[in-house]
Amino acid sequence: MTGVAVHLLGLRRTFGSVHALDNLDLSIAPGEFIALLGPSGCGKTTALRVLAGLEDADSGEVLVGGKDVTALPANKRDMGMVFQAYSLFPHLSALDNVKFGLKLRGRKASPNRAGDMLDLVGLTGFENRFPHQMSGGQQQRVALARALAIEPSVLLLDEPLSALDAKVRVQLRDEIRRIQTEIGTTTLFVTHDQEEALAVADRVGVMRAGKLEQLATPAEIYQAPASAFVAEFVGLSNRLPGTIIDEEIEVLGHRLPLIAPSSSSSPATALVRPESVTVEPHPDGEGRVVTTSFLGPISKVTVTVGEVLVVAQIASDRLASLPAGAPVRVTLSPSPVALA
């Protein structure tokens, strides 16, 4: 199965006075896995639903495989979709759920296609289970098998993991990525979980107020955010006051390069990642440890430097050397930073 290109061109959609989509443009390459990430109400789900044909755009075009499908109803668009809510048909077994779309299309698919799909999502032996006899994770796997069984041109995932518990979520997330890589279907994945988006997607689109703030690879999104919104939404950031001098910013006595150089000399706030902050115990240190949080292999340390609160990420084995109240020296690594 090879994927098709998808283009959303100038999509607009308003609900009353709210602009859910505000002239949204998005191009997805054939076989690409794109994650749309953003806070609630940013329009990511609306974009996916417009692509699925479940929602009409006020204006704009939807092109799938070079064909304009804007006016086509949902049932003629050839898309597979997995929903946030459990969407298996309660009166059908897992196998019959997967067969549903195949029967509708009257495809002369191999008789074992539905069973093969259940194998693919790791649910061999669950063919005769009904939805209420399966866990949430199993139901979403069947939903994924059902969406893929019809060999859709585009796979749409509308926050399919958000109702699951943390461990199952990570497991299924990785499996979705494995399956997508295996079959190569163009995929649009909507989520509000940044870790999920960064972990699975080829490219991540960060949305805000109906627009794409940035569309880039997960590494670019994290390391070179295009805006303060992206920097703050993706990953934790310290907001540290500083002064712009010679296209750099001076923060806590350190000169840091800027992602978007600015020539004006003025006070500004730098967004610095916790992993760019190093905290060392030092008797003459200018900082004081306020709190520490153990998070497994890494830990978080909150330090005050004067009146500024700085959060740093450290290896957990160093936690013992940083008790609350201990004097510390704070250094910032010279990686480029965004301005708030």
């Binding site: 479940l54 049932n75 009166h91 009904f130 006899q133």
Partner: protein
Amino acid sequence: MAGVIARRARKQRAFRWAVLIVLGVFFLLPLVAMVEFSTRDSNTWSLLIDWPQLSATYPDLSDGIVASLLQAALTAVLMLLLLVPTAVWVRLRLPRLRRLVEFLCLLPLTIPAIVLVVGLAPVYAWVNYFLGGSSVTLVFAYTILVLPYAYRAIDAGLSAIDVKTLAEAARSMGSGWATVMGRVVLPNIRSAVLSAAFLTVALVLGEYTIASLLNRTNLQVAIAFLGKSSATMSVAVSLTALLLAFVLLLLLSLFGERRSSRRRKESTS
């Protein structure tokens, strides 16, 4: 202490039995009286189960029975055709209208049948003009009359499933709206649809006011008419109609219970 508890339990048991007996007598006494009265003439019950002879002896009664059965079946069909797609559509596309639709469907419950007839009379003048004066035309009035009960049943059924997501899932796999209704929504609200249909049949079989005031015939009108010439037969038919309604309601509750207990059993297995 144990003695006090045992005494209290005995008292409660006695009270429960007293309530049950009083209620039983209250409900059963009229039925027993009906049985007693209708068996005074030994031919009554044998005639009632002999359809050819019944229709020859009491043609009005047999017409009434046929009319009522036809009305009940057609009302159930018309009600389902109107109500199920409307209720589903309101949930899918017009959720803001849900309260309004519910209010409209419950209205017939608050309007006395006699008042309803006053409003229906001019409408039925047109119905007479276009469709004739057949008793089957009462189906339109009855469909309105059963709305409160049928709507409640169907709405409860739809509340138990996520209609929007199921419909969207089916649509995304290529289903047209007819397939969504027939293969996804209806199988999942089957017991609600059956409840609505049973309630409709029970209600239509017992309807008298509208049929009588609009000069149509049905079972109850025929029974009232028969009461003037053959009291025992009218009581026997009333009793049969009553028992039929009981059986329908019993089936309804049994069906609902079996479904829910099966669900419970499956979900715990």
